[in-house]
Symmetry: C2
Subunit: 201 residues, 2 copies
DNA sequence: CGACTGACCAGAATAGTAGTCTGGTCAGTC
DNA sequence: GACTGACCAGACTACTATTCTGGTCAGTCG
């Protein structure tokens, strides 16, 4: 809870909602609980959000903001695009290994959230992460560490799928060294595939 | 149904079980149904299999045998290992797009099977497909179209995850061109990553 | 008068219970 | 000795009563 959050009813609701959703999941969190924790009336929730779903999506968006902010820092580091890709995938694994709210809505393997709202949240996450990867590729092309022959949006979509598969597999495995090893291999294969190649730029 | 299947009770049971599992799924297929369709008594099922699960796993194993046989033909074709990898991934997508029994137990997105038996079936499939990929890589190294610096078992595990992610994503998308496009990109990235590189063998 | 509240309620969700189903077993039969 | 289908414990399903909750809005208050 940052000291820079303004004490508006909407902010208080978001803070309360996040705490509730993280602890009890979507289904077991009631609008009344959230309102009470935000020291407001139940009907007031609907002054700021159209539905319980919208409250949840706003919480997911905030959580994503934090993740994307960290990732943008990684993107700003010196090095080649394949290096940065590796770092972003690592950060993703680390972040999603800790953030149960994001993890749950994207993987659907806990009971924190399910159904339509989980799908909406998952799609939003995929969208934003793909955008991040696209940015990484475009920047890499601009600076000459990614082949000019690739199309950033479509390659970003594929990178998302394969990076995600490795992250997911790694988070499912109790042995932390396995994810490290898989990332090494992925970086080796894909990193090489991204680099400019003599006669191929 | 091949004409070479012998008319033993076990074979009849397997044929009946496969037909039932494919049509009704695991849960809604009863041992009695299978026995009746195989023109035998219900208790006779247990002369050949220990449990309903074992019947199911035997059916999965047979279905996998067919798939692996097709894939082995692809592996026997001339060309480089990356070419063959591409062909195997395509065959996998095509096969799993049609085989509801295998698809269901691996993806868990239909109601044909779920729970422990689905997990067992999925793990068996992953295992066999990883073995296939390992074979592809080892053969590629032996003939010089795959870098000697990679470790086939661990790279096969990563290739399985990323190939699977692309296949899954492609099968979920109504547009068949999307899978083709993703496979092109994957082949481009990973294929290049697999090839021997000057000074890197 | 506009912001806020909590009682209201339709429909969703849950809990409880009776009835049905089925995987596995084995005594009886051939 | 191989095979069978009746048996049965436990799983599953269907039904029904009860409870819960998202969204609404008339009433209240500043």
């Amino acid at each position: 809870m940052s000291a820079t959050v303004h004490d508006t009813p909407r902010d208080r609701l978001l803070v309360a909602a996040e705490a509730r959703f993280r602890r009890f999941g979507y289904k077991r969190t009631t609008i009344e609980d959230v309102a009470t924790e935000a020291a407001t009336g139940k009907g007031s929730v609907y002054l700021h959000f159209e539905s319980k779903q919208e409250v949840y999506m706003a919480v997911v968006e905030q959580s994503l903001d934090r993740f994307i902010e960290s990732a943008e820092h990684v993107l700003a580091q010196p090095g080649t695009a394949p290096d940065r890709l590796r770092a972003v995938v690592e950060l993703t694994a680390e972040h999603y290994g800790h953030d149960e709210l994001l993890h749950s809505s994207l993987f659907g393997e806990t009971d924190l959230v399910e159904g339509d709202v989980a799908r909406m949240a998952a799609e939003r996450q995929r969208q934003r992460i793909r955008n991040l990867l696209e940015e990484l590729l475009s920047t890499g092309q601009a600076e000459g560490t990614v082949r000019a022959s690739i199309d950033p949006p479509s390659v970003a979509a594929v990178l998302f799928e394969i990076g995600w598969a490795i992250v997911r597999s790694g988070l499912e495995n109790p042995d932390p060294d396995q994810l490290e090893s898989s990332l090494d291999i992925l970086n080796d294969l894909v990193g090489l595939g991204l680099l400019p190649r003599p006669g191929n730029s």
